[in-house]
Symmetry: C2
Subunit: 206 residues, 2 copies
DNA sequence: TATGTCAATTGACACGGTGTCAAGCAACAA
DNA sequence: TTGTTGCTTGACACCGTGTCAATTGACATA
């Protein structure tokens, strides 16, 4: 019954997906390509995953396992003040995006046609949203959340601001470096969400 | 030679695209569907547009013509101060998004596979970017651009902030009303881009 | 009335990509 | 020897896009 415990091949397939997706940012990676990359036949691939969507979803989970998505966002929970927490979260998530970008794009592309892919993606985004909510909540507890925004609005906004698409646009279309992305977004988030937050610092040089 | 002057059928096809895309937000609208909606055969459709991408691109131009995309963004150029201009631009663009959303999604979905579609979309986004740049520039001229951001950074950020994807996320996934979207983004943009801009107004209630 | 042209029709087919199925084969275990 | 497991080969169905050839009906023109 297809060996519920996982032998090499399944792993090799998952790896293949990740490798190919990394290279061709989610674009035009066919079942044939994946199978060949893993050293088996396209048909044999269906012995392990009955659907492209299923494979992609599994690859997503696999990647989480390997890269430890949970562990990544943890440091932000440890931070002291709400503002520090916000910073830490943006830093962690911002560093994570490039690693999941390939598969994220692939999943995103299937979202409109495949229910399972949509569910997998939405679940992921829900996780990430919880991080946003937690950061905003911490800020709110500190009475440091900008009074211009309700916690819900703020969470929505932060969540949107940190979307993969936005990272893609800033980083690809606008040519921002990864470091610039993180720094600018941290500064921006402070300005937006932290009460009275650095309205316009002119500290160095009068 | 396909009659360079446009008889009814071509228009009907364009209309059909818009209608169908409106209904099914860019999802699964096939050539067959479009042809049927216009009352002709799928094959006959190829007498007018030789490619799905071409049809979609033409539909985009057609929509511009009908809804006057140029005229929409014009008022923002007339505004007095840079801040007012920013407001006007967000309002105009924000009101425009829902109208182009269907076709935007369809184009966006093809972007990765079709060069023409990508070009059409990028051109559109370039137009919109010019609006962003103009608004930021006006702000800069007024010496009201936040010193935390360079004009280029600011334009990149505004452009990203106002993306169709973000509108979609806030409006669909977060459940914001169209009015809330516009109001919140206007406030946000002021806070982000306008120097010293409304850091945290506590006006109503002590 | 005959001729031509134009828009559309019907029906068939190619291609690429996903998913399915049947038969066979090599390796290993009992 | 028999069976099982994991894979192979080869064929095929389905779907959506794009192509082609032959035909038809309407309209204009000579």
């Amino acid at each position: 019954m297809m060996s519920s415990v996982s032998p090499p091949t399944r792993e090799r397939l998952l790896q293949a997906v990740l490798t190919l997706l990394e290279g061709s940012q989610g674009r035009g990676v066919r079942m044939t390509d994946i199978a060949r990359q893993a050293g088996i036949t396209r048909q044999a691939l269906y012995l392990h995953f009955s659907t492209r969507a299923e494979l992609l979803v599994a690859a997503t989970h696999y990647l989480d396992e390997v890269k430890g998505s949970e562990a990544r966002l943890a440091p932000s929970r440890a931070a002291g003040s709400g503002a520090e927490r916000l910073d830490a979260f943006i830093e962690a998530w911002g560093a994570y995006i490039p690693e999941i970008h390939g598969i994220a794009k692939a999943l995103l592309a299937m979202k409109d046609t495949d229910r399972e892919a949509a569910r997998a993606w939405d679940a992921r985004m829900q996780d990430m949203r919880e991080g946003c909510e937690a950061a905003i909540e911490a800020l709110d507890r500190d009475k440091m959340l900008s009074s211009a925004l309700s916690p819900k609005q703020a969470a929505d906004m932060l969540w949107t601001l940190l979307s993969v698409r936005n990272w893609e646009q800033l980083t690809r279309d606008c040519g921002w470096s990864q470091a610039a992305y993180i720094e600018t977004l941290k500064a921006l988030a402070r300005r937006i969400f932290v009460a009275g937050g650095k309205p316009d610092r002119q500290d160095h040089g009068h």
